[in-house]
Symmetry: C2
Subunit: 219 residues, 2 copies
């Protein structure tokens, strides 16, 4: 594997502080997706995940290649949601899976040790059974969200803090987080925040990213 702008992203530190989940549809298509990714990369996001629930595999593949090319000069890992085959085909820097995806152990066997592997966790039962092949957790949704189909019910800050207190891996919180709530969420003990609509589809994604970055750095 080759990281973006590095020979081996996995060798670098995992910086989850500001994690963008990039939704091409919310960004207004492929052009908007690339512009959003670049604006976010230039203004402080530390990881970018491609998540496109309605796209066919070929579109995933093409979007992934375009993104990878656009992000060449930024040292930001590109993660692919769910589809290990897409991640392998574009040589992404990692995969993020949910509880209904392939087992983490199978995914690790396919991607090897040099790509990141993230896992979504929404409750205590899932937290107790996190396989040790996983690198980081996505915990949420913190607040109600429209960005994901069939998302579990929102945790709220209390349950988030409880869940995070049981974690054994670095974690990023996700779900309806805005610049206004970044501080509250980070105080729950996560290493970072992940956002979709707080950047994707915003009139000025660069400015939106800077606003989030400032709150993350100030927390």
């Amino acid at each position: 594997m080759q990281g973006i702008g590095t020979q081996n992203a996995k060798m670098s530190t995992l910086d989850l502080s500001l994690y963008l989940v990039l939704d091409p549809v919310l960004c207004g298509g492929r052009k908007g997706m690339v512009a959003t990714a670049v604006a976010a990369a230039e203004n402080g996001v530390t990881m970018i995940q491609l998540r496109a629930e309605a796209m066919e595999k070929r579109e995933w593949y093409e979007a992934g290649l375009v993104l990878k090319e656009a992000l060449t000069s930024y040292c930001i890992p590109l993660i692919v949601n769910d589809h290990v085959d897409v991640a392998l085909a574009i040589d992404a820097d990692g995969v993020h899976i949910g509880q209904n995806d392939l087992p983490a152990e199978s995914v690790r066997a396919m991607i090897g040790t040099k790509k990141w592997l993230g896992l979504s966790v929404s409750n205590v039962g899932q937290m107790k059974t996190v396989p040790d092949v996983v690198d980081y957790l996505g915990v949420g949704p913190v607040y109600p969200t429209q960005s994901k189909r069939n998302a579990p019910p929102a945790l709220g800050l209390g349950k988030l803090a409880d869940l995070v207190s049981r974690k054994c891996l670095p974690a990023v919180a996700i779900g309806g987080i805005t610049a206004e709530t970044v501080g509250d969420v980070l105080r729950c003990g996560v290493e970072g925040i992940a956002v979709v609509s707080a950047i994707c589809g915003q009139q000025n994604p660069a400015q939106a990213t800077r606003a989030l970055r400032e709150k993350v750095d100030g927390a």
Copy 2:
């Protein structure tokens, strides 16, 4: 890779004569899917493809493992539709992709040379650009079908014969084929027929398979 009931399915001859595309939903769930696969295996199908458009990856994975186990004693390749990652995770005997899936070259790079790779073709343009990493073609739909979302318009026998005359690889015809039409379809020059609803969801899948097998053998 290990074939089902063999050390290497790819070493054996590709027998496309009666190809079952197994839809778990049409079969009434996982139990029905397994029963249908076994009945079909015992009565003359030569290949089985798992295709489950609405299932999540974990369900694909589990269904694939269950199928593989159930088919251990039959020498019938198990092919996975679309998802190369599922095929790799369960060590299936091959992958079947469509025109909107990952590029065939990428798929071949992932699955190696010992797994089968099939590609769906619906028109002359697609036939002209079949990559040489592909092992066989699925050509159709011959007749209108309800078994596949967003299927292209039915070809009919005339266009099927024209398309098949341009093929450079073994091909199986698919789409609304029944025991009554097997002869007509095979006369178009394909090596075999693929069916979904002519077996899946039939009251007696064993009998349905035998009826198709007799027509194939008699053609």
